[in-house]
């Protein structure tokens, strides 16, 4: 009966403990400094319970508390029994004659003895368990320490967020990254404050998406730490969902990617200057064509002006015709201005832009610029452009460069061939789903299988004077626009075709 009572008492105590610890915002200082991964392993067979409570105890801790409860109850019971029975026993001993005692008198002391023995055993168990716990803790601490060192050396911060309390647990490195001192409170608001204002929406979106699909998420953003410094970090997180479907906690890592970003920016900058260099090359290649483009309006202006000189000497002066001449001069002047503006755009070293462009217009402009060059090479141009809008977000100069590269490349492929002067250049554009597709086909010798693979490598050229940058830069341009550039030999006829696909802005969305 007593035993039953004590058992009841134990479960009550342990339940009370469990409730207390489960609700406590910070179970104990040891638990907060511990990483979740090794604990996860320990708890794995208690998953049904631990899945609910974010900060549940380890199995060892659990049984220790139970044993403590039982021991307390047993000691109480023993004490009470002994206190009640002691006078009876003493009286009996005194009243006895000789050594013949009634054994029945010793029933209660026997129970007390058994209880005491049980207590001793339990305390021994407790001591053993405590020892085991210490060992485990030591192991845990060691593996945690190792993990922390490994994480820190990889510039990786570890964190865990508890939904119920809105508290973050984070490694010191993690705090350092976010510029939050060790003592300061760490909650969602503090973290959000640290995120660069421009990136906050992006971070929130990523987390929400992760939570709603209960899958891992990854987001790259800037954090502003003191003195106007900004660092780039990448956070990976995994949400843990409670059995009622609500978010229980999110655990994850955060990595400082500032240096990587800097390097990436440097690579992009170098690529830009390379692209610029190759544009200068194109301008050189097109110098004849550009001179022609510039000469045409200049010729018209000069002749018109000189005609005007004669006209004003006439009597009467034909004012209507004079007005026409002036209008023509103004138009030709702006035409010359366009050529120069375009030339400057090609020669200028500019950062990549994203404007809404019509790819068909880019193609037409490139053809206009290369027209006299193609004419002198006796290349026939066939265009087969779609009537559909080919809107895309892109850099006007880079896309122009891309088309000039592909057109000049095709023209040169055809010119290099003895006995096949001239040829046909077929430019087509169309739409396939979300992509726009542009193809530039020539009737040249085609591309030999052995150079097909190397064609887009930088500094690979089959031309005597080629730098070998045109196609590699074209590829870089297309890639930076989220597209693909590839080449194939024409099936059933001479020559090769370069294909470009890039994501387009669907009709209606284009501004």
């Amino acid at each position: 009966m007593l035993r039953k009572e004590s058992l009841l008492g134990w479960s009550a105590v342990s339940d009370a403990f469990a409730t207390f610890f489960a609700l406590s915002p910070e179970p104990n200082s040891r638990a907060t400094t511990r990483s979740s991964a090794p604990r996860e392993k320990l708890r794995s067979d208690q998953k049904s319970r631990t899945a609910v409570a974010p900060e549940t105890f380890t199995r060892v801790e659990n049984s220790t508390r139970a044993v403590i409860g039982v021991v307390i109850v047993l000691i109480l019971a023993t004490g009470i029994l002994f206190a009640l029975d002691f006078p009876v026993l003493v009286g009996a001993v005194r009243a006895s004659k000789g050594f013949t005692l009634d054994w029945r008198l010793f029933r209660i002391p026997a129970v007390v003895l058994v209880l005491v023995l049980m207590e001793v055993m339990l305390v021994a168990t407790l001591v053993l368990q405590e020892k085991r716990r210490h060992e485990l803790e030591g192991l845990l601490g060691e593996s945690e320490e190792r993990m922390k060192i490994a994480a820190e050396s990889a510039d990786l911060g570890l964190w865990r967020w508890d939904a119920a309390t809105d508290r973050f647990w984070a490694t010191a490195h993690c705090r350092k990254m976010f510029g939050i001192p060790t003592g300061a409170a760490l909650n969602m608001a503090a973290i959000t404050d640290a995120v660069h204002p421009d990136d906050r929406a992006q971070v929130t979106d990523a987390i929400q998406k992760g939570v709603s699909t209960s899958s891992s998420f990854e987001v790259e953003y800037r954090i502003s730490i003191g003195d106007g410094q900004t660092r780039w970090v990448r956070t990976r997180g995994r949400p843990f969902i409670a059995s009622d479907g609500s978010i229980a906690r999110i655990a994850g890592t955060v990595l400082d990617v500032t240096d990587k970003k800097k390097m990436q920016a440097e690579v992009e900058r170098q690529q830009e200057s390379l692209a610029h260099l190759s544009r200068v090359g194109i301008v050189g290649e097109l110098s004849g064509a550009l001179a022609h483009e510039l000469n045409q309006p200049l010729t018209a202006i000069l002749s018109n002006a000189q005609a005007m000189q004669r006209m004003i000497k006439c009597d009467p002066i034909d004012l209507a015709e004079l007005k026409n001449v002036i209008t023509d001069i103004i138009n030709d002047d702006s035409r010359a201005g366009d050529v120069i503006r375009h030339l400057r755009a090609l020669l200028k070293k500019d950062e990549a832009r994203r404007d809404t462009l019509d790819m068909n217009k880019v193609i037409s402009k490139a053809l206009e610029l290369t027209r006299s060059d193609l004419t002198s090479r006796r290349v026939n141009v066939v265009t087969n452009l779609t009537n559909q809008a080919l809107a895309l977000a892109g850099d006007p100069v880079q896309l122009q460069q891309l088309m000039l590269n592909l057109i000049l490349n095709a023209a040169e492929a055809m010119a290099n061939e003895p006995g096949h002067a001239g040829g046909a250049l077929i430019i087509a554009s169309d739409v396939t789903g979300d992509l726009l597709h542009v193809s530039v086909a020539d009737t040249g010798p085609g591309i030999r299988a052995e150079i097909m693979e190397r064609l887009f490598e930088p500094f690979f050229s089959t031309k005597a004077q080629g730098l070998g940058l045109g196609l590699s830069i074209s590829k870089a341009i297309v890639t930076s626009h989220g597209g693909k550039l590839w080449v194939e030999n024409n099936a059933g006829r001479r020559g090769a075709t370069f294909h470009v696909t890039m994501p387009r802005i669907p009709q209606g969305q284009a501004a």
Partner: protein, 213 residues
């Protein structure tokens, strides 16, 4: 330029350039200078529409799509439609200019072209065309007259042009000197000349020199 310099008003400058603004401006300049002008914005329309019998010169742009200026020159010189050609080009390319001049171009101007240079070239070209047409005219007259001669008269004429005396001609042909004199008088009459020198001059205009041998 000096409009009075032009001796003949029956002329035309044919301008071919596929750049419409240049075409308009140049034709305007030539019109204000008093020339008759006909413009074509493509070599094809020029070949299809222009009237070769109208005297005048052609002003061709070199860098044109379809058929470039040099190819057009080639077509013109191979046909009977030959007329003086002035090229205007945006590219001052030595190779092309040499090719054009060798193929008989009268002038090769680079854009933007000054009015003085253009008008001088046009004037020269019109003069050359006039001269060429005059020569062609004389040639056809000479040919017509030559065709009226009998074969004996042609033989006599060939020998006279070579400077043989009547006595020598008689010996060459195995006829009497008196007969030679009669033939010679007929030749002079039919060819419309009075002296041996004039006959030599006319004979040079005959298209087939071999006809005289």
């Amino acid at each position: 330029m000096n409009e009075h310099m032009r001796s003949n008003d029956d002329h035309c400058v044919f301008i071919v350039d596929d750049d419409k603004s240049v075409l308009t401006a140049v034709s305007r300049l030539l019109t204000t200078a008093g020339y008759h002008v006909k413009t074509f914005d493509s070599p094809m329309s020029f070949l299809a529409e222009h009237d070769p019998s109208v005297p005048g010169c052609a002003l061709l742009d070199i860098g044109m799509a379809e058929v470039d200026g040099l190819a057009l020159q080639d077509i013109l010189t191979r046909s009977d439609h030959a007329r003086p050609i002035i090229f205007i080009t945006g590219n001052d390319d030595v190779k092309t200019s040499v090719r054009a001049m060798k193929a008989g171009a009268l002038d090769y101007l680079t854009k933007p072209v000054q009015d003085t240079a253009l008008l001088a070239a046009v004037e020269t070209a019109l003069g050359a065309d006039l001269e060429a047409r005059k020569t062609r005219n004389e040639q056809s007259v000479a040919r017509e007259r030559f065709e009226q001669l009998t074969s004996r008269e042609r033989e006599v004429m060939a020998l006279v042009v070579r400077g043989r005396l009547n006595k020598q001609i008689a010996a060459d042909l195995g006829i009497v000197e008196k007969t030679v004199k009669v033939h010679r008088a007929r030749v002079m009459e039919k060819m419309g000349v009075r002296s041996v020198a004039a006959l030599v001059h006319v004979s040079e205009k005959l298209p087939v020199p071999g006809a005289l041998s």
